[in-house]
């Protein structure tokens, strides 16, 4: 073989000399997963797996932050073997990847059951998988996964790390070795700028940055590499779900508003009862038909109609020059 050397994507040992550790926490799943509206079962196609826009932006932000600190990036994802091709693509960017096995296969899960999974346990498992690489100064998550979930994972990660947390970010930059400055959207096009002390867990929106492409050398290097699987905790991520869930969702039923009782109309004649019930003989305002000559006149007619019926104040339609 004359090709370049292949190195498997082995987990690097804890090497603090390699600079601060940035963790990209990815949820790699079918980007077009569907939930059956009748029984709530989820279908995921292993061929559809990929990085969601939010996760891709998160990974790019993690890479940029690591570059600005001369640090390194570890990407961790929970999932079955079918997500390995995507992790390999991530590894081609020079990122160390680790997969936490999941009992989830591609199919047959209930959405409600997944919602009730133990996110706290999941956060512990994810951090246990990262621990061999050192203590993260920054964890970046996508703020929204395509197949939803509770969105509670970043909060549990922050809790476990004793870190600050910021959500819904569109920009991220380092502010010295102690902090990051982040931006998030507010209403009316405003943005809020926050200084977040490290360690921090930041969730970013799928906006603002585009994930870079791996170099050809990087792609070649990982072409047949194995993705390391973390079994340090001896349990799979979803294995912790049953029984220990902190979120309990019971059976759901359709919303059925209470019936409103209307008294039966008085009278002996069925015709009169029917008339009373339908209000057919009650006088109503006839519809107003207007056909004014020009637009200004039409506007005045409409405004006076609205004023007459109390939709607008009468003084708002105070006649200007030439109004009736």
């Amino acid at each position: 073989m004359t090709g370049p050397n292949v190195s498997p994507v082995v987990a690097a040992p804890d090497d603090s000399a390699a600079g601060p550790l940035v963790v990209a926490c990815l949820r790699i799943t079918d980007l077009r997963a569907t939930v059956d509206p009748l029984d709530g079962s989820i279908s995921r196609d292993p061929l559809g797996v990929g990085l969601s826009p939010a996760d891709a932006a998160g990974l790019e932000q993690a890479l940029r932050m690591a570059e600005s600190w001369d640090g390194r990036v570890v990407a961790v994802a929970v999932g079955p073997e079918s997500i390995d091709p995507i992790l390999r693509d991530v590894a081609a960017l020079g990122v160390t990847v680790v997969r936490v096995p999941s009992a989830h296969d591609s199919d047959g899960h209930r959405y409600v059951a997944e919602l009730a999974e133990d996110e706290h346990g999941l956060a512990e498992t994810v951090l246990a998988a990262v621990r061999p690489f050192g203590r993260p100064v920054l964890v970046v998550c996508g703020d929204r996964s395509v197949d939803r979930g509770t969105g509670a994972l970043p909060a549990f990660l922050a809790h476990e790390l004793g870190a600050a947390q910021a959500l819904g970010l569109v920009a991220l930059r380092s502010d010295g070795p102690e902090a990051v400055v982040v931006e998030r959207r507010l209403d009316a096009g405003w943005r809020e700028r926050l200084r977040v002390l490290l360690p921090a867990v930041c969730s970013v929106e799928g906006a603002g940055v585009r994930l870079r492409r791996a170099s050809l050398a990087g792609a070649l290097a990982v072409a047949d590499a194995a993705v390391p699987v973390d079994r340090s905790t001896g349990r799979t991520a979803a294995g912790s779900a049953a029984g220990t869930g902190v979120l309990h969702i019971g059976a759901t039923r359709p919303y059925a508003p209470r019936t409103r009782v209307i008294p039966a109309p008085e009278g002996h004649d069925p015709r009169l009862r029917l008339l009373a019930l339908t209000g057919a003989l009650v006088a109503h305002d006839p519809p107003t038909v207007v056909h004014p000559a020009d637009a200004a006149e039409a506007a005045d007619v409409l405004l006076s109609f609205l004023a007459r019926h109390g939709y607008i104040d009468a003084e708002d339609v105070a006649p200007e020059a030439g109004a009736p």
Partner: protein, 440 residues
């Protein structure tokens, strides 16, 4: 993770395209101990590929013995129907055999995202390096003009090798750049549009009269209005593939939208009951090179071979519609030819000439050569526009009971049907002879 900081990587061979041709070429080379890189522009092998339904596996016997035990099959085809239709009639020749439903099998339906990935997996198991999500944007040549690699869209980084095998499909930009393929000729191509419709396995078995794992292949003529082409319907494990194949120039001239013609076919009284109530799972479209042997490009240049659809190796000869098997056959032969050329140290067009000789000696080019006149006959006006109706009318004339009028003789019915469709008996006899000469 250490990352080589060069923009050039060198191999014994670069194979572009991880479809059946490229995967087979890479497999042959990897088995010969060569270092080979397989470049795929999609996120996984098969992600850009669509086919008209049946893979004939005989070609795999010599390459992957016992392939049928592991191939990702949807259904084994045991029923093959050839259907002629008009707007209101249809005439089927329906063949069924148990022989095709047991090893070594004949044809199968599969999904390309599964099949191509399986075949590429064989290549990587043998040692080929697969790089996905990477486009080969152009050829790299040395001072003498010989091809010595490809440029990729990953920052323009290059893959170098003494030989490049271009298996980059029907649009093959590499073959065009090398001058092997002239400007794309619409008349040598057809457009296939396909719908995959959900249908539970039990319902497939009931509607198509098959057992589990058994499948049906229907080839349909006369369902494409004035546009030369045909239709197809195949059963997958839990879905049905239906579509039409349309000659490009006439499609363009007609102004008809392709999906309209699929809707036509689905609404035909013969097809509609089979598909009642189904929902669309995926719509797709792809070009097919249908020019046949006479339009095939030269298959080798200095440092370059082409295989599969890039070399127009799709057999669209009416009775036979095959492509994946030709891709596998040509790809594997290309890999072996490159291995021989590397051993001999001569990767010029002359050194690679054993590729074409090999293909001529086996089914890949032998079939194409024997059926070289078939595309023009199959796409001819009479076969497309007149014979389906003629044959349907003939059947209707023979089988309609006309009491109390006495039955008409066969010749009279034939003459009447021929006249109604503007075909003389002389033309009919002539085309029959032509067909016998081509297919016989």
């Amino acid at each position: 993770m250490p990352e080589p900081r060069t923009d050039v990587a060198a191999f014994d061979a670069v194979v572009v395209g991880a479809g059946p041709a490229g995967a087979s070429a890479a497999l042959a080379l990897a088995r010969a101990g060569r270092s080979v890189v397989l470049v795929e522009r999609g996120p996984f092998p098969g992600s850009k590929n669509v086919y008209g339904g049946v893979v004939y596996g005989r070609v795999l016997d010599g390459i992957i013995p016992g392939w049928w035990d592991e191939v990702p099959v949807e259904r084994w085809v045991v029923r093959r129907s050839t259907v002629m239709m008009t707007g209101t009639q249809s005439l089927s020749v329906d063949f069924r055999t148990d022989a095709w439903g047991a090893a070594p099998y004949n044809g199968m339906t599969t999904l390309r995202s599964h099949f191509d990935a399986w075949l590429a997996g064989k290549a990587t198991e043998a040692g080929a390096r697969l790089v996905t999500s990477t486009v080969a944007t152009g050829l790299v040549r040395d001072g003498a003009g010989r091809v010595v690699g490809v440029r990729t869209d990953r920052d323009g980084a290059e893959l170098h090798a003494p030989v490049v095998i271009a298996c980059d499909g029907v649009n093959s930009f590499l073959a065009k750049e090398a001058g092997l393929l002239s400007r794309a000729e619409a008349s040598h191509h057809t457009l296939g549009v396909k719908e995959v419709l959900d249908l539970p396995p039990g319902a497939i078995n009931e509607r198509f009269g098959v057992q589990d794992h058994e499948g049906v292949d229907m080839e349909i003529l006369g369902c494409t209005r004035d546009i030369p082409g045909g239709g197809f319907l195949y059963t997958n494990a839990d879905s049905v593939s239906i579509g039409v194949v349309l000659s490009l120039p006439q499609l363009a001239a007609s102004g008809v939208r392709p999906e309209e013609l699929v809707a036509d076919l689905k609404a035909h009284p013969t097809i509609a009951p089979l598909l009642r109530g189904l929902t669309l799972r995926e719509y797709s479209a792809h070009l097919i090179p249908e020019g046949g042997y006479d339009t095939m490009p030269a298959l080798a240049a200095d440092g370059l071979l082409i295989a599969g659809d890039a070399g127009a190796m799709t057999l669209a000869a009416g009775l036979w519609l095959e492509g994946v098997n030709f891709a596998i056959g040509s790809g594997y032969a290309a890999g072996q030819a490159v291995d021989r050329a590397l051993t001999a140290g001569d990767c010029t067009a002359r050194g690679l000439a054993s590729y074409r000789a090999d293909l001529e000696g086996q089914f890949v080019l032998a079939d194409h050569k024997r059926l070289r006149k078939a595309p023009s006959l199959v796409l001819s006006d009479r076969v497309q526009q007149r014979y389906p109706g003629l044959l349907c009318d003939l059947a209707e004339g023979m089988f309609t009971v006309t009491n109390p009028t006495p039955k008409a003789g066969g010749l009279k019915v034939t003459r009447a049907a021929a006249a109604r469709h503007g075909v003389t008996l002389r033309q009919l006899a002539g085309d029959t002879l032509r067909g016998l000469r081509i297919f016989g």
